[in-house]
Structure formats: structure tokens, C-alpha cells
Amino acid sequence: MSAASQQHPISMKFAAFGLVLFWLMLAGGPFLWTVWGSFKVQGDFFSKSDWTNAIYGIRTTIETGGPFTGQGYSGAWIEQEFWRATLNTFIVVLCTVTISLTFGTLGGYALARSGRR
């Protein structure tokens, strides 16, 4: 059961649905495209002749034997030492969150409990 203020005419619902769908395509589309393209060789992802190459993986099949390849990932993770960057990031995140949360809660508590303005 929903309150009267929560009920909407069907046309409004469709409009809202369409709007959200459009926004989600804008927000998520580029990521989906990049994730898909990350399993292709560069010749397919940046294919000037025919954009459908990126979908079917023509050059990827020629170069690696299959329509999908993990080359990009092994290249980034191992050859370019992305694992080291990831490790560094985790160290920074751990320290920053611990320190700022501790200091922040202490200070916030004091500010909230002090009666003075």
C-alpha cells in the first residue's frame, strides 16, 4: 500500500522511466563500452574503418586467435606493474580513512556536545 502522494499517473511513470533509462545509458554506456573493448586488441577498440570491428573482434581474432583476449590485462597488471600501484593505493586508503575518521569523529563529537554557539 502506498500513500496518495506516492502514486503517479502511468504517463508520468513512463516519462520517468524513459528519462532514467536515457541517463543510465549516458552514465553506464561508456563504461560498458570500455570494459568490452578492454578484451580486444587496440586495432579493434580504435577501429577507424568499421566500428563493428570492436564488437566482433576481427583484428583480435587475427592477432590472438579468439574474439576475446586478456593481453591488455596481463600487460597492465604485470608488465606495467599495475599491481604495485594497486598496493600503494590500498596503503594510502587505509591510512587516510583510519586517521581522518578517528580525528573527525572525535572533533565532531566535541562540536555536537558543546552547548556553545
Partner: protein, 344 residues
């Protein structure tokens, strides 16, 4: 709470603020008063067996290094860095005003000055992106709020993606798509039958592209804040408005938006600050030929040339800080007044 307890609770935060905010700002200001040493020259006499002797002036590397070590801040320049050609450029500004006949000429003279070019882009970016982000965020929040319960979660997750990823990665992803060989860039070339069409070549298109990126990147933030706010809109007031015959638009205008007003101020404050510091998209889109921001010229001073121009970068940093403060003063005064007028 006794004062002593209050200060011991606040001490870590205060210490961190002094250490990480006040001291760096002070140090940046100090550095901005100095410029790099000029290289020490010395005259040496070189003699060749047949041609006789000539005097030559060369850089004395040893003495230059010794000087840099003795005075690491550099040579004292006072406020000279602020007024030089690469910053506020008072001389050039005055000359442009005297010599330019039309406002257009004056404007193009300004756009040749590094600092003002960056300032104009930064202000344009802030002024265009911020209102769009606020409006779109509100509209999307209202629309998502009307979705059936099942679809709300996934919709929120996907909506947040542009904000969650690092700005650099986000701008790279978009840059790859609009690249001349990327899917959208190549498609546009085919559509307009112009194989040389490139969004990066035209200043106007580059600016528009960066604005769109800015809106795309920041809308999730205002969306999620407004969406959270929508959950607390009082239903009684909404229903009372309905009984009074308020239409849907009127309910949003007179009940929902006033309820969200504190959040609008908050998002506005954060967005003004964030957009004024725009930097990553310029690097991600490699757009620095057509668009530079204040943050970008600071970076360029530090990493762009052979010598690191600490003094110049510090002066620009300080001017940026002043810009942010000027931008925020109206919002801050408003917030302060609201805060004080509230009954305790």
C-alpha cells in the same frame, strides 16, 4: 562539556588542520615571494694552439648549484611574481586597455595572457557546469524516486559510476570514445563526411566537450545528495498540498524544493569549489592546446618545462585560493545567516 574536554577532543583535528592546511598555505605564500636564481655566469679564456685566445661566457654550474643550496627558496622578488606577465600582468593589461579600440580587441589581448586565458576557462567551466549539475541531479533524483522499488538499487549504482571512477580515468574513457579513431569520433567523421574532423582541433568543441564531461562527472554527486533528501520530504505536507489542490509541479516547487534547499546550498558550495579546481579532464582529453585552467597552469609550471618554477606555481596557487574564497563568500554568508537565525 568543560572547555578542557572540548579542546582535548578537538586537538587532533586542529593539529591536523594546522599541519596540513594552514602550514602548507603559509609555505606556498612564502614561496610565491621568491623566484628562481638566475644562472651564475663566468668568463673563461679559451686558447687554441693556432687562433689565439678568446673570452667566453659560460654557465658556472658549480656556483649555480652552490647558490641554490645556500638559498633554496630562491631570489626574493616580493609581489613581483604576482604582477608579472605570467600572472596578473598589470602592465600588459594597461597597454591592452590603452591600445585596444573595441572590446573585442581588448578581449583577445586578454586571451593572449596565460593567467587570464586560464581564468576565463575556469570561470566559464564553473559557471556553466554548476547549474546544469544542480538541475540535472534534481531531475534524475525525482525520476529515480518514481521507479518501482526493484529497479531503484541498480539504477542508483549505475548512476554513481561517473562519480566513483577517478576523474582521470573517467575523462580518458570519454576521450577514447570521442577520439578520431574512437567509436563516436569516427562515426561523426563518417556522418559529416569529413575525415579530418576532430573534436580536439576546434577550441569551441573542446570547451563544449570539457563542459559535458564536467556535467557527466558531477551530476551523480548532486543526484545522490538530492535522492537522499527526497526520502525525508514530509508526506503530511505533500498530502496537505494535494488536498489544497496543488498540482504536481506546484508540489515540487513549493514543498519538495524548499525542503531540499539546505542540500542545494551544500551541493552548490562543493561544486563551486570542485569546478574551480578543474584539472583532470584537461589532462585526460589532452585539451591543453585549447583550454587551460588555473590548476593546469600550476601543474605546467611544476612539470611542464625543464626548470621547475616553484615561485610561479605558488603565486598561481595563491591566486586560485583567493578566487575560490571570492566565489564562496556569498554562499558562506548565506549559510552563516541561516545557521544563526535558526532557533537553538
Amino acid at each position: 562539556m568543560p572547555d578542557k574536554a572540548f579542546f582535548s577532543f578537538m586537538a587532533p583535528s586542529l593539529l591536523a588542520m594546522i599541519l596540513f592546511i594552514a602550514l602548507p598555505i603559509g609555505s606556498v605564500f612564502l614561496q610565491s615571494l621568491f623566484v628562481e636564481h638566475s644562472q651564475v655566469m663566468k668568463t673563461v679564456e679559451t686558447c687554441s694552439p693556432f687562433g689565439g685566445c678568446t673570452d667566453e661566457t659560460i654557465v658556472d654550474a658549480e656556483a649555480t648549484q652552490a647558490l641554490a643550496q645556500a638559498q633554496p627558496l630562491g631570489r626574493f622578488n616580493g609581489l613581483g611574481t604576482y604582477t608579472d606577465r605570467n600572472h596578473l600582468a598589470f602592465d600588459d593589461l594597461g597597454r591592452a586597455r590603452r591600445e585596444a579600440d573595441t572590446f573585442g580587441e581588448f578581449l583577445s589581448a586578454i586571451m593572449n595572457l596565460r593567467f587570464y586565458r586560464a581564468l576565463v576557462f575556469t570561470i566559464a567551466f564553473t559557471a556553466i557546469v554548476t547549474p546544469f549539475v544542480l538541475a540535472l541531479g534534481l531531475v534524475i533524483a525525482l525520476a529515480v524516486n518514481m521507479l518501482p522499488r526493484m529497479t531503484k538499487g541498480p539504477a542508483i549504482f549505475v548512476s554513481l559510476l561517473p562519480m566513483i571512477v577517478t576523474p582521470l580515468v573517467g575523462s580518458l574513457i570519454l576521450a577514447w570514445i570521442v577520439d578520431a579513431e574512437g567509436i563516436l569520433g569516427a562515426t561523426l567523421q563518417t556522418l559529416f563526411k569529413d575525415p579530418d574532423l576532430s573534436l580536439k582541433a576546434s577550441p569551441t568543441l573542446t570547451w563544449i566537450m570539457l563542459f559535458i564531461y564536467g556535467i557527466w562527472h558531477a551530476t551523480p554527486f548532486s543526484f545522490i545528495v538530492f535522492y537522499a533528501g527526497l526520502q525525508t520530504v514530509p508526506r503530511d505536507t505533500l498530502e496537505a498540498a494535494m488536498i489544497d489542490g496543488a498540482s504536481r509541479a506546484q508540489r515540487i516547487r513549493y514543498v519538495v524544493v524548499p525542503h531540499l534547499m539546505p542540500l542545494v546550498t551544500f551541493v552548490l558550495l562543493i561544486q563551486l569549489m570542485d569546478n574551480f579546481r578543474v584539472f583532470e579532464p584537461i589532462v585526460g582529453f589532452s585539451a591543453d592546446a585549447n583550454a587551460t585552467s588555473l590548476s593546469w597552469i600550476i601543474y605546467n609550471d611544476l612539470r611542464g618545462g625543464e626548470t621547475t618554477l616553484f615561485g610561479s606555481a605558488a603565486a598561481t596557487s595563491f591566486l586560485t585560493l583567493v578566487g575560490v574564497i571570492i566565489l564562496l563568500i556569498p554562499v558562506l554568508i548565506r549559510t552563516w545567516r541561516d545557521h544563526n537565525s535558526k532557533p537553538a
